[in-house]
């Protein structure tokens, strides 16, 4: 009764059945990743498999750069040397003042019994490539959990904050740039100390201060630095500069556009900031009792 097809025609499940299986699996992964942040181990395994390919693919560019560095002309070397000597001299003078100010600051903080600012440790990392996904602003750097990089650490360059480590693989780490949509960073206006939260817009070179009242004192050219109240970013790192302030009576909030100070879209060396500030634990909110409200009324 049973008519088995000859083995020549056996091809397993139909394409449609396979499509359903693989689509269901992909969708399950999507939901698990987007909603619950599961699958971290699987991601790590896949990352280890892809790692050699990533290194091979980025090798030609980095080798070319190194060869280019080798063949610098005598003239450019001398120019660089003169410039660096001048900068070094200028910086040394500033550093002397800084040392004195730091000592004074520490003394004053001690007098006022404020918790000291801990020194931060920096680890250099090289940007391997920017994410090819046009929807995200991320870069991959060549330091990972083997080099004590942890998710949440701030990433800076010589001019300011670049981003934050969001995913860590054994030898690589993913850095979400400050310009990524959905990346927030608590900042402070250097001129007047106003605190705000700076949000990425998803466009290169544009950041946005949200929910700022119309009468808040922001001007073009104001520099924003990290406020450090989140305990993630060390305080005082330059982040952005206010480029445009738009106050319209039709809106409740001012529209403030800023440009990042760090080389967000440059492929270069970055520094990973280790050692977050230890903040005291958040005070526990006391449940409001009806008696307390009554006493305030009376």
């Amino acid at each position: 009764m049973e008519h088995q097809p000859p083995p020549f025609f056996k091809t397993g499940p139909t394409p449609l059945a396979r499509l359903l299986i693989f689509s269901a699996l992909s969708l399950a992964f999507l939901v698990a990743d987007a909603r619950f942040n599961y699958l971290l181990t699987l991601r790590q395994v896949a990352a280890v498999v892809v790692y050699p390919f990533q290194r091979i693919a980025t090798a030609p560019a980095s080798i070319a750069r190194r060869i280019g560095e080798f063949f610098v002309t005598h003239g450019s070397l001398r120019e660089d040397n003169a410039r660096l000597a001048r900068e070094n001299f200028e910086n040394a003078t500033r550093l002397q003042q800084l040392e004195a100010l730091r000592a004074e600051n520490a003394q004053l903080r001690e007098l006022l019994a404020i918790r000291g600012r801990i020194g931060v440790e920096l680890a250099a990392a090289e940007v391997l490539y920017a994410s090819r996904d046009p929807f995200t602003r991320k870069v991959i750097v060549d330091r990972g959990s083997r080099h004590q990089v942890l998710p949440g650490q701030a990433v800076i360059d010589n001019r300011g904050v670049v981003g934050q480590v969001t995913r860590v693989y054994p030898w690589l780490a993913e850095v979400t740039l400050v310009t990524d949509k959905g990346q927030f960073i608590p900042v402070q206006n250097l001129r007047n100390g106003l605190r705000a939260v700076l949000a990425g817009t998803g466009n290169d070179g544009a950041l946005e201060l949200r929910f700022i009242p119309l009468n808040a004192d922001y001007q073009n050219g104001d520099r924003l630095v990290t406020s450090g109240i989140d305990g993630v970013y060390p305080p005082g790192l330059p982040v952005a500069q206010v480029m445009h302030v738009e106050r319209s009576a039709a809106q409740i909030f001012a529209r403030i556009t800023c440009a990042p100070l760090g080389g967000v879209s440059n492929h270069a060396q970055v520094l990973i900031v280790r050692g977050a500030r230890e903040l005291p634990p958040r005070p526990v909110e006391e449940p409001k009792s009806p008696r307390a409200r009554k006493s305030r009324k009376g």
Partner: protein
């Protein structure tokens, strides 16, 4: 097939599995090159292109497993949501396998006209998943890569069939 017109009597040798793996790895490497700026926009998705090519040419050798695994690798390398490329490539592989007889009937430009909509569909799936996750529309240049891939389709076909050409018969004049 593209070269059927040129030499209709040539029977191609069977393709080696190692060669397919090699080309897929090369496509992955091409995708992982540090592209930036305008090159990033017009860059075709080489993995999608190669997956579609092999699904049309060798649907019994390359299929869902390869497409899906390559999709996962691309997701990890891009730092995007896990599974978005895997889903897109699986659907692309399905389209390739279902349409392979039809597409191979054609040669030249009509074949490209089959391929470009499939690659655009691949882009649209990724776009749809990103939109569902809350991303903005990146602009129409996002689709440029698929048209470049369509332009590459015919040269790619000639190139990838080179190892399958039979060796010239020394006895034959």
């Amino acid at each position: 097939m593209a070269d059927a017109r040129i030499a209709p009597h040539v029977i191609l040798l069977p393709v080696k599995a190692g060669f397919i793996v090699l080309t897929l790895i090369a496509a992955l490497l091409l995708n992982l090159l540090p592209w930036s700026g305008a090159a990033l926009w017009i860059k075709p998705d080489f993995v999608a292109l190669l997956v579609l090519y092999w699904c049309i040419e060798q649907p019994r050798k390359v299929g869902f497993v390869a497409a899906w695994l390559l999709g996962l690798f691309m997701d990890v390398a891009d730092g995007s949501l896990f599974g978005q490329h895997a889903l897109a490539y699986s659907i692309l592989a399905y389209a390739g396998i279902v349409l392979h007889r039809r597409v191979r009937m054609f040669s030249g430009t009509p074949q490209v006209l089959h391929v470009v909509p499939l690659l655009l569909m691949n882009d649209l799936i990724v776009l749809g998943i990103r939109a569902a996750a809350g991303a903005d529309f990146p602009g129409f240049q996002y689709f440029a890569g698929s048209f470049v891939a369509g332009a590459l389709w015919l040269p790619l076909g000639v190139l990838l069939k080179l190892p399958q050409r039979p060796k010239p018969d020394p006895d034959h004049v």
